[in-house]
Amino acid sequence: MIKLLHHLGLYFIMMKKVINKPENWGVFRRQLALEMEKVGLNSVVIVIILSFFVGAVVSIQTSINMDNPLLPSYLVGLASRDSLILEFSPTMISLILAGKVGSSIASELGSMRVTEQIDALEIMGINSANFLILPKVIAAVFFFPFLIIISMGVGMLGAWVGGLSANITTADFMFGLKYEFTPFYIKYAIIKTIFFAFIISTVSAYFGYHTKGGAIAVGKASTAAVVASSILILLFNYILTDIILS
């Protein structure tokens, strides 16, 4: 418990340093562009591949489980849509991004810490937490919702392809996709994603920024970042769902 409070205290002290006006806006913009590429653009391909295949599998499994003449076949489209929008795209993709982006942030900052690059920034009179972490947080919070929207679209494409292989006609699938569609679900998914993006970027940055030791410590920080981010994503998924959808 004391250890948890210690980590929480250090996290908030770090966040106080992070949330500050950048030292130089020109340099900050360049850092932000770099992070947009690292955190966001570099994750597009993995998100597309995962979403397509999971969408297809969801659709096939739904059609198998609904193999009953009393159940209309358009339900496959409807069930795929809701599972993708409500859970798979925001939560599962965020968990995957916690692994990819979170470990990358933690190991990058951890390596910079053990090779004294962060100390070098501090000695120059630069607020290192603000300089290194703020662009990552903004890039993640700004870019992750786009990744999730891409995931939803590609996931549904995959579900349609999966549906075709399970003999669901395009017309039935499209009807199910549009059937009683609640646009608020998209907002709900995006709100969740913004929270998850903040968790992934700041928690991973926390573990990386406070690395002590050498290469092994960097590896440990990276693992701890992924584990802590994943647990927090699941916890906040529950809390946010309860608050927003109840």
Partner: protein
Amino acid sequence: MIEIKKIEKYFGNNHVLKNVSFLFERGKTNLIIGESGSGKTTLIKILIGLHKIDSGNILFDGVDFNAIKIKNQRKLRQEIGMLFQGGALYDYMSVEENIMFPLNMFTKKTEIEKIERVNFCLKKVKLEGKNELMPSELSGGMTKRVAIARAIVMQPRYLLCDEPNSGLDPKTAIIIDKLIQEITKEYNITTIVNTHDMNSVMEIGENITFINKGEIWWKGNKDELLNSNNTELNDFVFASELFKRLKKS
């Protein structure tokens, strides 16, 4: 000059620095020597504000570092150039970008002025034309020289070097030592070098402090060091056969 007065530092129950006082003079290469774990690196990190002291004062040309606001501490730090043991170059930046980084952050110089300054510093460390190389493409000696170029690009008043020769061959180490000494004289800056390399001591030791078990045991210059009767100092400095013979002669 930098003056430290009655510095005390604890890490938990470990008393790392005990009542340490010293004057690091301007225009001289001030050396801190001592065994591993003697408190040298802690002292350097205290000087640059990476570790907080438990008591005492650190005066940069009369300004008490710990008595001023954090904002002013940051400004003062901009006048300190630091050379780290491993160079601490930013991996994702080229040589030019690494050296230009402090200029981008703190000056309003035009792109041409910044490039001119970078090229001037690269010439000073004898690395002309290496602007586009990445840190991963540099040898140990080149990394240290780029780090020196980055440390002097803002024309600092103070230059702090943490074991600048670690991992270098003796010939390259002497080049780095000479370079540090040359820069110190040319710009009349206060330079502090933390080392346990005895070649450095003999080459550039103008104002030497020997730290042992967190305390200052001896002060002097390289000539005084050769004639010193301090047992602990002699055991440390003249540990190798070569240096023992040198002492006898």
